[in-house]
Subunit: 269 residues, 7 copies
């Protein structure tokens, strides 16, 4: 990778701007995110889901890619897994605090997302820390309905209709934009949302992962969160239906996307 | 970007002057501001407003660009959104403190603006911190009438009649100066102020944003703040009226401004 | 600007001397002062005044250049306005402490000036801080009569008969020296002092600023401080009288000063 | 070793990303791990074991390579032994806390593994610390059955079926993958697991270590952990049986693996 | 100024020795002292005095150069005035502590001098501080008679019979050595001491300063300290008598000293 | 000494790995150890001893090389003597704590060795500290018998049968290995152990030191530690017997070892 | 002075080893010691003494070179006087603590010497401090007889029979070695010890200093310490007798030592 000379030196700490007003260490931390396995989130008619592709190998126990935060809140992340787990645990603590200290049965999802992004923001304010190398997708249903938030290494919290992060996220995003250009969350059913999530992850992965590699956490309005893999009886049919959508999208996009596919380096988690 | 040799090294920390007495990290933080989407503020006869252009996309929930600070106080910002939200929350806390601790029903707008700029100033005084990469426009009405303040990454608070920050702010400023050269706030109605704000943002944006992209927060003397987008029934007509003003101004300025328009890089928020 | 090689490296922190015993960061901070709009102070027969030129523009509310510290004390500054306001607020707090804690109705002006310069001095003693980029002129009347102090970024407090700081201060100083070479404060009336202040600021500015640009704060022995701009009824005649003095001085000095006038860079405040 | 120029400087502290989003000091700490003597862990039908090769010499007392953490929990590590012992002691303290403070007779293995990895993660978050140069394998049986976790210098905790770390771990991993590709832990007996562990370590070592060099700690469901060396009566036969498996595997893999075997530098422990 | 290469880098902090065992930042701080206006101190038969030359200008109020520390103790300094005043205030606090806490009517002069030099010494022990750029001469009379101490930026306290510091101190020192080579303090009267002080300062200044520029603080055994300028009635005759001594000395030394006189740079205070 | 370019910069702090996973400052601290006068330890049938060569000179009082830690525990060290004494005192404090706080009459030797190595390990974990430049040999007899531990600057504790540290330790180690290759501690008598220790030290020294230069501390099972020099009546005969063993070993090894003997630099202690 | 390239950079802080295991900042601090005026200490039959050469000049009061620490303890030092005085005061505090807190009438000399060297050692352990640039000789008589200790900038405490530090100490040491090669302290009388001290200092000084320049502090078994200069009646005769010994030694050593005598730089104290 070529480092242009004028950049040299401005990228050593998060408490330094370069002459163009950028904080390069935050940009680099985003590179760590963009090398993780893909994770996505989708709001639908009466709920919200997150999904991610987990790593499988003969010697590993199945890893979690989706985490329960509270009864009605789940999260997933892409990037450095140790930073991710650190924040997941912070989110769980915050949810417990809201639940027990403030006596809230349905902790506010935005408050938890903001709490996490405050931690991430602090890590960009002080010399001697580093921005956290992870982005977190938090989904949940609280008293005002389903919510989906994205937290960035820079410390921002953005509300999503749908989105995807991790390696090759751009490709998955194109698919989701294609869906959401003509539909709002209000016209998407849980079943559709699951299929779209599977396809978005598959598009970002360049192929359909095996059903057991895809983990999905979803919350319908007043039902507690469920976390399942795509080989679960409830989802298997939707997985099968996704294959067709994936192939259709792929054949449509093969020509333009073909060569761009990176030889995604597997340095993360 | 060319870095002149004599600057090299003086721009690594906010606690260092260059030989000309400048603190370069503050200048660089202002570059972050000048790359944000435009935000403006205008004092008028019996009130004050702030307005900004928010980012829209198929996959994003509508983002806030204008934030309520207290019943009679609103704010907007340009620059790093995570720094901005951090300060917005500080402003809200301060307003709550003034309201509840000091028992003030109409918290003093200057006190809140100064509180925020003190935080921003501290960040320029200590090694190991960075200037915050955001400018904040705070508007409100307190016991002595409507107020409009601008807070800079260097930590100053300046009282405005009208102003605009963010990408291409210069262009929008020219439009506002043209208006205020012949009029004081006392001769501008709420309706005019809204139109001028829409045009200023459009001029800085290089085109009329769609009505839903423009968010406006305004306070009339003794009415609580209202935050609306330009596609709201109360404002839609004013938006339509702005188109004409915008086109007139544009045709008048096309010749001189044409080539200067930057290919504004979208690296912020 | 040319940086002679032997200086390189000694100017990075206020806690380092160069081989000639100089603390270069303090010299650089003084450069920030010497780029501010001019401020002056003059002791006269029965009182003291400070005056400064404030920035005006169509879009700005009039800025303060002179600040009330206590009933009988005012101050002005040149340099980074956020550093200046920070110190002004410290001075006000100190005056309030002296007034309320120590029960002093006429707080001692030197104690306040020293308090401010202690803060400024501390900022030159510790790595990780920066010298404050501002000089402050404090004027007041206490139990032992009128006082005028100048605080420098290095942390010293100097008692003045008269003085001027900011851009092109040298030129204004020549005018004041011309006056004070033959007169002591005891032979100068309030009216004269105001005229001399207006002329000194005008000389430093290279032209007569408009009356509303000049702000004057004055204290007569037992009268509380008054802060007025030169377009105020009480002062307008003195402003008009100053024009003649200014022109006279200018024609006398044109030949030698002509080319030296810098293209004063407007980077401050 | 060649250091590519673009890397220079990004590898000085764990709180700095390189332009590709990597934290190089963590990668270097992993190099310390990959130079330790091999350690492995294997889950089997009704329990779990860890095993490692310890260093022997005429002048040394036999060193521990497997450590008891609690009645049902053992651990081994590869890398800097002083970092390893430090973490082993932390793990013991944590187990004692869980046991005595929380009154748990069978402390949760994941809680202990996470506690250790939190310490390792913290060491990657703050300037002035270094990532710990060790990876730890923790095995135990708690109320939900046998568990096997791997803790990395980056601070992650990964659940394993089987795995091996240390010098030439890749070679041992290939052997274990060969076993686990066709078998799950549920079809492996304690005896098989011990043999596989001995072979994996031997493969990584390039030859069969002497029986007294191999230390094994194993836990069957409700039996306290036992730590033995391979020359112990209970294991000796299994060691002998392993020789054949080792030779078979070696002859099969000689051709491709032959030259790659490093002249493993003995700089660790 | 030429910086020999072997020095480069050893002079950046007071907590670093160069290869010859020198702490260069202390040497540089002494350069700041050697650029101040001259100050001297002289022990005489029944007392002690300090004297210094103060800066005068049409626009300045007369500056102090001699400071009262306690009823029987005075001090003067050369170097950075803000460091000097800081230490003067510390000395006054210490004297007050000795007086009120320890109930000492005649605070011990050495204890105060040591207290000041301890502060100066601390500033040479810790990274992140700078040696103070000032030397202080403390004179007083306590229960064991008159005392004269010199405090150096390195933190030492030295007892003097007589001495002089500041710009061109060497020249003044030659004069004092000439006097003290043949006389001890016990053979010098107050009047002589004042004359010698005036001459020493004049020699260092290269010319007789005007009487009002010379400030003298003297203590006779049991009389409180008096601080006067040389135009005061009590001293004026001694000033006049000094002119002759000065001229005599000057004519005697003109030949050898002539060209060495520096174009003393006026960068201090 | 040649510093290979790829090493440059990785060796400035103990909290930095080089690209090969080494902590170079620890390696350098070991160089300090390897320049100390030799120290050794030997376990024997019913006890343990440490021995070292102390420095003698006409002007020095005899220096300690062996230190009593507790009634049954002794220690010796090689490397920076001020670091060594610092740790010896820590060990004594720890022994006293174990004895008095925990009521242990025979403090556990491992606990004391680990306490010392924890301190040494901490010094490798934090920027701003340095690894201690000393290795410590601790020997003692506790409730489970005689023990011998070696603590390294990296913070590890290793159990020894026998060992030697300091200048030219390798040569002494060869001798000890030769002894221990065919004998375990259980077949070595106290008298033999003393002779072997004297020879090992002599081999490392390149010649027999005088009897008074060799200090020996030994503990037999239930007898308190005794510290004697080799000119003491109890040992003198053993010293004489060692000469023969030394000469024999030397003549055997002269050919191969002859030229390697360094001109051991005497920079330590 | 030539700085060999491999040293560059390792000598910036006391918490860094060079590749040969040396802490260069400690070596440099010793250079500061070796430039001080000479100080020595000598144990004799029934007591101990320290002696040093003090600086004299027409303008200075006589400086102390020998300091009383307690009734039976004295000390002297060579190196930076402000570091020396700082430690002398610490030693006095420690003696007072031992005396009053522990109720010891004859404070243990080793405890005080160790206390001082602990402070000196700490200064070599933490970044941000500097080794103290002074060596201290402490002599005293406690319950176990006379003691003489030498404390080095590295933090070690060494027991001496006799020794000398400061400029040209080597030459003085040769003289003392000559004396002690054939005599132990037990055969030296107080009178001899004083003469040897005077000669050692004179040898290091290159000439006999005047009697008033030599200060001697001595303690006989149960007599309190006395500090006298060599012009005192009790010592004058011994001074005279020393001249002869000095001349004898000098003529004997002139040939070999002649040219080595440095033009000792007078940069210290």
């Amino acid at each position: 990778m070529f480092v242009p000379p004028e950049r040299a030196g401005y990228d050593r700490t998060p408490v330094m701007y370069d002459p163009r007003g950028r904080i390069l260490q935050i940009l680099y931390a985003r590179r760590a995110v963009s090398q993780g396995t893909p994770s996505c989130g989708i709001l639908f008619k009466d709920g919200v889901l997150v999904a991610g592709r987990r790593k499988m190998s003969a010697l590993l126990m199945p890893n979690r890619k989706v985490f329960q935060i509270d009864e009605y809140i789940v999260a997933t992340f892409a990037g450095y897994s140790s930073d991710g787990i650190f924040l997941i645990e912070q989110a769980r603590d915050r949810a417990a605090t809201l639940r027990f200290v403030y006596g809230s049965d349905r902790p506010d999802v935005y408050l938890i997302a903001r709490y996490i992004s405050s931690i991430m923001h602090q890590a960009t304010l002080y010399a001697g820390l580093r921005p956290l190398g992870v982005s977190i997708v938090i989904a949940g249903s609280d008293l005002s309905g389903p919510k989906l938030y994205f937290n960035d290494p820079g410390g921002s919290t953005v509300a999503w209709k749908a989105g995807i992060i991790g390696r090759n996220a751009q490709a998955g995003e194109e698919f989701l934009e294609h869906i959401f250009r003509s539909n709002g969350p209000e016209s998407i059913s849980l079943e559709d949302a699951i299929k779209y999530a599977i396809v978005a992850i598959s598009v970002a992965s360049g192929k359909m992962p095996s059903p057991s590699e895809i983990e999905i956490g979803c919350i319908r309005l007043d039902e507690p969160a469920k976390i399942l893999t795509a080989d679960h009886a409830e989802i298997k049919d939707l997985y099968d239906a996704s294959i067709e959508i994936f192939n259709e999208w792929k054949s449509k996009h093969r020509r333009e996307r073909g060569e761009e596919e990176e030889e995604a380096e597997e340095e993360e988690e």
